[in-house]
Symmetry: C2
Amino acid sequence: MKKLSRSRRSFLFSAGAAALWIPRSVKGYSTTEMHSFDRDGQVEDTITKWDLDTPALCVDLDALERNLKTLQQTVSGNGIASRPHAKTHKCPAIARLQLETGSVGICVAKVSEAEAMFEHGIEEILLTTTNVTPLKISRAMRLRKWCAGFIQATDSLNNAHSLSEAARAVGITADIVVDVDPGGHRTGISPGQPALELAQEIDRLPGLHLRGILCYDGGSQHVKGFEKRKTQTLSRLAPAGETIDLFKRSGLNTEIFSGGGTGTYNIDHETPFFTDVQVGSYLFMDAQYMSIGGATNDEIYSDFEPSLMILTTVVNDQYKGQVTTDAGAKACTINQPWPIVKGETGMSYRSGSDEFGTLQYDNPSRTYKVGDKLELIVSHCDPVVNLYDQMYAIRRDQVEAIWRIEARGMST
Amino acid sequence: MKKLSRSRRSFLFSAGAAALWIPRSVKGYSTTEMHSFDRDGQVEDTITKWDLDTPALCVDLDALERNLKTLQQTVSGNGIASRPHAKTHKCPAIARLQLETGSVGICVAKVSEAEAMFEHGIEEILLTTTNVTPLKISRAMRLRKWCAGFIQATDSLNNAHSLSEAARAVGITADIVVDVDPGGHRTGISPGQPALELAQEIDRLPGLHLRGILCYDGGSQHVKGFEKRKTQTLSRLAPAGETIDLFKRSGLNTEIFSGGGTGTYNIDHETPFFTDVQVGSYLFMDAQYMSIGGATNDEIYSDFEPSLMILTTVVNDQYKGQVTTDAGAKACTINQPWPIVKGETGMSYRSGSDEFGTLQYDNPSRTYKVGDKLELIVSHCDPVVNLYDQMYAIRRDQVEAIWRIEARGMST
């Protein structure tokens, strides 16, 4: 893994890091931002997170960098690579940090996310969802025309034929992985013979170039207890492992066997031929992942640190045993476990109302007054990030950069 | 109520409807839109909703117009007004339809929403949340300087003093309503003497002009059963009614007594001195409101029609008894009851995964193949709208306009 410190800073503050890089995303403040920090005509030089208008999405850079390092050291040590899923952060600035710290590429869930990432300088992109409509297939092929590192998934013979025709129509050969179902029956083709036949057809089709398989075992990521999680995911990945072995014996390309996630990043390498983990939440962590337990701590999953916080302000303190904040469901989602107040105990937060959060005191380590700000560890990072246009990158309470969440809302 | 037909169309397709109106919001398609409709270099003249890339948020104009009419006829018949809450739609185009069909103004929940609405031509705005930080108070006062129809809430003496100072600092007198707590203890001051003392202080303060009270009984809106809902909300609004009577007897201004919502729009007028309902969901309806029952139908709340739909595409049909779609939590939220497939029976939809929806067949009225599109009645309209940058305004399957959701994500 490359060292972060100097290169990261030069990346954050240089405009020329990549030909397609748009500097406004990571450098300085927008006019609107400046306007909101403006007080009596003075723009302050140093802005702390406590100055931010709320609700605000903040990421702690020290914690984020430690999470990047932990992940990369672990998977490298286990002989595999990381190909993090950008559906979690939707943020080109973070994708670049991941690539710079050793990831072989990123994953995306939607063709619109792929377009946004490419537009902002990311060139190694695996789209994990099969495009089924002519419009989406056409968008993906146009993207592949410009982006040599763009790989697409397919999970049926009909679809493979459509992809090949669309690729030929724009004069390209499209890179393809077979999406194999780990048993959740959500997406993907069945492992074994069906997947092999699909791969053989892809190998024959003139517009397609087979790269391997993906098998995302989403159903195992949040299983509580490390051993239970390990047993489950290894058994669910085994048929995909046997499938890629079939590919090998048939002389097909097997350079990619991608899958796994934050819950199984230190397990997935035990499946034979597995090449790279599609981790996402490891960057930020959240209340959902914290509760699953890890290899060294059965209660709290402490491999990675919570780095993503929602900053919120108390707007009402008139009623006994509680305060109301400005971060409700539109700032936090209604995912559970509910957000956790960082650094405090004896209180519980609920974001069930659209506009307001409620902080209930049980045996609180402190109480709050109107205007006080507090930080929330998010419930479930992916959908929370998708609510914001930007996140504030914070180091020791100072705002170091504002990162645009360029693929926010890109669900098509 | 003004007639909709001609004036609505001229509004939708004229650039000069208001000085501040930005025509791109409601007229034609953006470059990106055109790009996505482009096929073999041809741009089709007529686009139906079935051509749209998915997930797509669509509103049926005929149903929307009937909902606008039903609401306005009912409240007018009951001798009160409507002041719809724009936190539901976050869309200036719809706010203008509401004002054009008889509403006296709109409500917003956040100062950023107020700014977005004013920037797009809306000039009668009631901010229902108390601003407590210097930054937000300053933004609100700057807005009031330009927007004479902007009214703000307060719920404490300290806050009233801050508002008055901020108003004086920019040389204005700010219009203020007292936010009275209906018993939920979320926001607002207690009714009776505390509210009266606050109102008297507002009346004395040099920077403030008292306009009346607001009392939003959110806790009653989704009570199942019309009679139960009526009993509860009338009892919870009664102290606010007595409070405004105290105001009157103290010679204070009581021109506004605003509250209520879609669940109580035909009940609220029974509280003495009540002036206007802050309805929001009546425009769109959703699975949550449909289940509360109405005055004439105890099972389904049928006063208003579902007009808001998420269009989604089937992406996998390989597994028995179900299909997978492209609309998960990031397109639908995880609010429950889950979205309902429009026009079909014997199937249930779940949007628990971030990227994918699952449609389970029980005794289905039809089945779907990969690439088929279907329409979902949304679970809870407010947070769903907040996920999208635009909604497609549809009439008899044709796309009539694309409405920008200008206040999407504006939670500050």
